[in-house]
Every structure is written in structure tokens, then in C-alpha cells.
Homo-oligomer: 451 residues x 2
Amino acid sequence: MTDQISDFHSWYDERARQHEYEVTKAPLESLGGWRIDGDTGDVVHETGRFFSVRGLHAKTAARGPGEWSQPIIVQPEIGILGIVATVARGEVHFLMQAKMEPGNINRIQLSPTVQATRSNYQKVHKGKDVPYLDYFRPPRHGGWVYDALQSEQGSWFLAKRNRNVIVEIDEQVPAQDDFRWVSLTEMSALLREPNLVNMDARTVLSGLPFLLSGLGRVSGLGTELSGGRVERARHSTSELLSWFTEAKSRHEIERRLVPLGELPDWSLRGGEIVHREGKHFAVIGVDVAASGREVARWSQPLFEPQGRGVIGFLGRYIDGTFHVLVRAEAEAGTHDTVEMAPTVSCIPDNYTGSLAAYRPAFLDDLLGAPESRTLVDVVHSEEGGRFYHAENRYLIVDVGEDFDLDVDDDFCWMTLSQVTSFIRHGNHVNVAARCLMSCIAGEKATLAAAV
Amino acid sequence: MTDQISDFHSWYDERARQHEYEVTKAPLESLGGWRIDGDTGDVVHETGRFFSVRGLHAKTAARGPGEWSQPIIVQPEIGILGIVATVARGEVHFLMQAKMEPGNINRIQLSPTVQATRSNYQKVHKGKDVPYLDYFRPPRHGGWVYDALQSEQGSWFLAKRNRNVIVEIDEQVPAQDDFRWVSLTEMSALLREPNLVNMDARTVLSGLPFLLSGLGRVSGLGTELSGGRVERARHSTSELLSWFTEAKSRHEIERRLVPLGELPDWSLRGGEIVHREGKHFAVIGVDVAASGREVARWSQPLFEPQGRGVIGFLGRYIDGTFHVLVRAEAEAGTHDTVEMAPTVSCIPDNYTGSLAAYRPAFLDDLLGAPESRTLVDVVHSEEGGRFYHAENRYLIVDVGEDFDLDVDDDFCWMTLSQVTSFIRHGNHVNVAARCLMSCIAGEKATLAAAV
């Protein structure tokens, strides 16, 4: 295991050396290939494709500020995030890619086998072919064990979705340059390292239990944390679905696109679009010169969050079964009003000044949990193709059996297996919660997979 | 049983006598409380509430005409369709309502316990309280065994959804005027009568299997049709979800609201908005004078389909288990691009002239099936609050084991239990398919419920 990981790191460091590139901040006004629309102030690509940054006005009856405007990324295309998996030498392996993205803190991160927008794979920018793409298009090869449309960050994207897919094939096909077969044991270790497995890989890996159960191996999520006992869930699936339906009905959100240049609290200053109080995020521009990507040079806008975020589940045992506290969260860009989210997901630094009164519930419980009660604690970063150095600390803590079970309507206790079952249907569990689930699935699946 | 049904009909006929009312067609231009917007030609209520009729432009890469415009009903509120159920004298009973709607062919139809738009129950029109509404609002009484946001007709509504709920309570509370407890046995018989159980009741009753399984009674859907044998499904749930995800990715539809007055093929003529070739439907106005409804007099627009529709599943046994052929259908107003639909749903009369080339696949197989192979054949009508005399013939036919299993990408064979399991999550199975499922659930559940 230690040898495998050190082998992995030799390969990974070598890939990083092969991907020499430079990312330089550049003013939005002079970004090659992009322009700021004279009428609206929207940031758009000259071809009208890829994505655009526009203004969004949102109004909701939910708690927190009831009405606000913000910049948002509009990218209506459905891309593919796909991982090819196989069983070799008795263990599950994933074909992963070392991929450079301009917003990554470190040079490269570990990505799915295929991570491609529709523009990408239809080659709008006349780049290279997307390797292994045929595994994710008809006619089908292999078993498509997980295949769902999943949302991405609802506070930064307007109704963005990608197709998350795991395809199981019969043999370990040769890995091209920048690709490597990674075992489940290795993956579990890598998921504990900071900023290494990228968001796209993590969201797809939240479907790992479906692969394992298809292979006749339990994913171990429920039984493992329950010490092998039969899972006893506090709520039935009917009750959880009813809670979710009620939250969707309660949280109706009115939203409309508005000109980016006319947002009251945002302005273009020093080549960036920034918030009046310096909160939330800035829209910045970067020039990129790379060797190993589809084209050698490009420029693009990125969202740069102002501070490190915290994404975490509070959990506790209820009648011997571990449960997490799921939140029904309505974000401005959520595809269908509300999704199941972690107990807490926020950038704590935002809650000063005009937002001090809105400090999220349970944030202090999460940050104050002792290390001995922490099941997951790792810093990962969000999609480097759209976000610049967007780090989040992912936490799952056991708050203990004295923690009050009575919670507000927006919260609900669920077992890990229940959260997993909702992932399968798409658009139920948000990206933050899915990434947390992949962290714990990685932790626990190694044992189960060895059975 | 015959006695029960004749008792029911005495009550029902008496309710009909109590609900004397008159519905008269009236020109859209002079509809009390409504106006045709001078700029857009949209038909809107003076308060801006209830619903409006606007223009929709749709463009898709799917088969059939790739681009068209049409009138569409816009009603963004989520209403409640709820049935209260209980077990009395060993049998499941539903609290149903005899409800008048202006578009109903017969005077009244059997409705859910509560059938209320948000405007309704917030009493925008200052009418009476909605009886039994408290069962469907917090704080909760009883078990919410089925609770999902479900779409309505995607070809007539823009992204309309209602909350479909079944609440199980402990006792047979007294039935107010216009309400009656109906046993499952009676309901099964009533579902075989034409234009009696309304659409709102039928869509909620598609959740009947969740009530029965919660009561420890099998719904009988799968086992019954399989002659008691264990169900063997042609495709796994993973495969079905993957088929569905792929269909959603493939069928991206571009749609936008446009002024109703500017639709190329539609015009206001003789007080109605009609299609150039007299196809599809007309938007008409009616004046209503009623005794038993929330207010005594009102006017409103309705959609009047041009001809009777056909909604049907082709089915056959595969390895001893009955399967139906489900279609991934993209309609102009579908909430999320594609839903699981019956094999065929159309108004056959439309497929002449400019549309002759688009006669739907399998329509002739459905209409040509001999009576001996017909499991369901009943005429029901769609929601009389929005549609005028909108009848559909609901059919499920067994096409036999010689029928080709190889079908186009837009179609997929599923067992009835599989279709049922997707109903639970909302927004998977469209209203036509749900209504078909309630017809067959009614047929089969009687036996199971008697166990």
C-alpha cells in the first residue's frame, strides 16, 4: 500500500513536470476571445459558446437575506464526467487522468477518465480528440452502473448539470499518457490528501456504492459505521421523500437573469468584478499558456472565492446506526429549487458586517468538534476550470448521542445508505454533499472491497 | 359489491342534482375578470394570479417537427392534490369528493379529498375554506405514505407541477357534504367507468402501491400479472436510470415564451384562439354559474382538444413477467426535458395534412389489438378546471410474445413494479403514464387488498 502510493506519486510528479504552464491574472476587459457586452456588462465568449458570466436576481421566502443579486455562470450544456472501472487482481481499479486546470492550486489534479463539456467533445476549439470518450457514448460497451444528471455549485452556476457516469469494463485497457489505473485502496488514500482528487472525480465517485453492489460487494457504508449491525434508520424512505417534497414546495424561489453591469452591489474594478464589501467571490480573468492540454494558449474568466469554505456533515449514532444531518438547501442557481445538502456549507468569513446576523446554524458545532470525533477532515478544491483556488474544508464529525435530535424543518437525519440511494436518481443530493459522501465512501469501501 | 356500487351511484347522482350549474361558451375578449394583453395578446387574469395563456416557441433535435410555436398554460404555483385514506372494516377506504369543474363532460367527477391550487387555499378569490386541508399541511397528522411533485400535461402546461399526496389516518373521520368514503373495491370498479374518476384523483392513485406496501399488503401489480411468479425484469434499475439519463441528455429542448398574439399558426377568431388547420386544440372562454363551488359565478379560459386522444401501453410477457413499453418523451412544457411516458399518447386526428408524416410509432399496434388481449380500455377525461371535454381512451394491451423486443433508443421495456418505483421520486413518470398505472393498479389491487 505505501509502495503503491509512492509509485503513484512518482508518476503524478512526473506528469506535473510534463505539464509546465503559466497562469497569469489578466483584466476581464482585455481577455483574448472574450468580451464584456456593451449593453449588459455580461462576460461572454466571442463565439457565444462555452459559458458566460451574467447577473442573477433571486428572491425567496427562506431564511437569510430574502432578496439579492449576484454574478452567475451560465452554461446550459450537459457535459460528461465519466470514470471507466474494472476489476483487476481481485480489486476495483479506476482509469484516472492527470489533468491541468487553470484554477488549480497545484498544477494538476486527478480527474475522471473523461471530463468534457459538450463544446469540448464536439471540438468547438478545434483541440485534440477526447481519449476514451467512446465508452460514454452509444453503442454501449460495458456496464453503466451509475449514470445520473447531477447539479454543480448552485451558488455559482445557473442550473448547471453534468452527466455523472461509471462504466465497468472487462479488462484493464492500456492507459495513455496522462492516464493511470488507480486501485480502490490507492484512491481511498488519495482522497485523504489535500487538493489532489478533483471535484469532478469526487462527484462521480459518490456513485461507487452502485459499482460495488453490482459486483456483489457491499459498499460497507452503513454496516461499517454501525459496527456490522443491521441498519436502523430513523425515517423511512417515504418520510424522507415527503420531507424533501415539502421543502421544495416551501422554498419557491423567483429568479431572473439581469444585466451583470447593473447589479447594485457588484462592480468592475481593477479588471475584476468584485462585491462592495469584498465578500463572496470575485470574477477574475486569467491568461493560460500550457503544454499538455487541448490547445496551447487560452484566456478565460474564473470565479475566485474570498476565503476558504467549510462543507460538513454533523453526524451521530441513533439506535446504533450512524446518521448525518442533511439540510434542504435552496441556492440561487439550484436546478430544482432545493437539494439535499450538507449540514453546513459556507465561507465563514462572509458572516461579518451586513451578513453577521446570518451565521449558519451548526457552523460552530462543526468547527468546534474535537479531533477524536472527526471521521473526515480534508481540504479539497472545486472545479479548476471555472474556480480559482476554491478550497473547501470537508468535515464529517460525530457530535455524540447527547446531541439534540429535534431539528428545524429544513434539516433531517438520514443514514449514509439513504443519502447514497438518493444520489442514484440525480438532482436529489447536491455537489457538496456528494463530495462528502465520496470522502467517506473512500474511507470505508477499502475494507468492504477486500471481502 | 354490486350493492356498494349502486349505493355509490345514488349518492353520486344526488350530488350531481345538488350541483346545478350552467357552462356557456363566451368570447375570450369579453371574459369577466380576464383580459387579452394589448401588447402580447396573452390571456391573463386581472389580478395577475391563477394562470395565464401565453405563447411558447420550442425547438428540439428529436423526431417529429423540430420547431414549433403553440399556446401554453403558465401556472407556476405548486398546488396540492391529496387523498386521505384509512383502513376500515379490513379494507382500505379513500375520502373522495364530488367536484364540479367547468370542463367536465358530465356535471361532476370524483376528486381527491383536497384539490387546491395555492391561490385556492390562500383564498385569492375569497371563497370558502378548503375542507380537510389541514391533513396536508404541517403539523402532520397521519402517515404521509406518498408525497411527490408530479408534472401535468407537458403539451399544454409549461412546467406545471402539483404535489401528489396520500395521507393514511387512523379513523374514518366524518364525511362532509359532497364527500364520501370509497372502498378500494368500489374504486377499482369506478375506475372502469368512463369520465367518473377525475385526472387529479387518478394521478394520486398511482401512488396506491406505496400505501398498500406500507400496510403490509402487496400491491399485486407485478406478481398478479406474472401469475404469482417472482418478477424477472429485462433491465436492472441501473440500466433503466441510465437509459433515462441518456434520453434527457439527447433531447435537449430550447424553449422560450413569446407573445401569444404573434404565433404564426394560431389566431384569435370567433372569440377563440385556433390553429390554422384546426388541429391540436382551441383556447376557448366559458361563463360558469354554479351552486356548490367556492364562488357562485365566474368566467375562465379552457383548452379544448380537437378530437379524442389515445393513451396506451403496449405490453408483453418477457420470461414470464409482464413488461410495458415505456417511451422517453420530450414535450414542449415538460419540467425537465423528458419523462417516462406511455408507448403512445396522441390525438390521432392530428396526423393528417402537414403532420401526416409524423403518425406516432406503435399507434396502429395499439388500436389494432383484439379485445381478448386488452387489459385496460376505458375513456377518462383530463382536468376539467383547465380542459374542456378533453377525453382520452386509456388502453393497455398485451401484444403477445412474438412482438419484437428490439426497440428504438426512445423506448424501453419495464415491469409495472419498475414504473411504480419511479413514480415515487416525482418528475420521472408523466401524467398520462401515471393515469394508466392507476387504472391497472385499481384492477389488480382489489385481489391483493383482500389478502
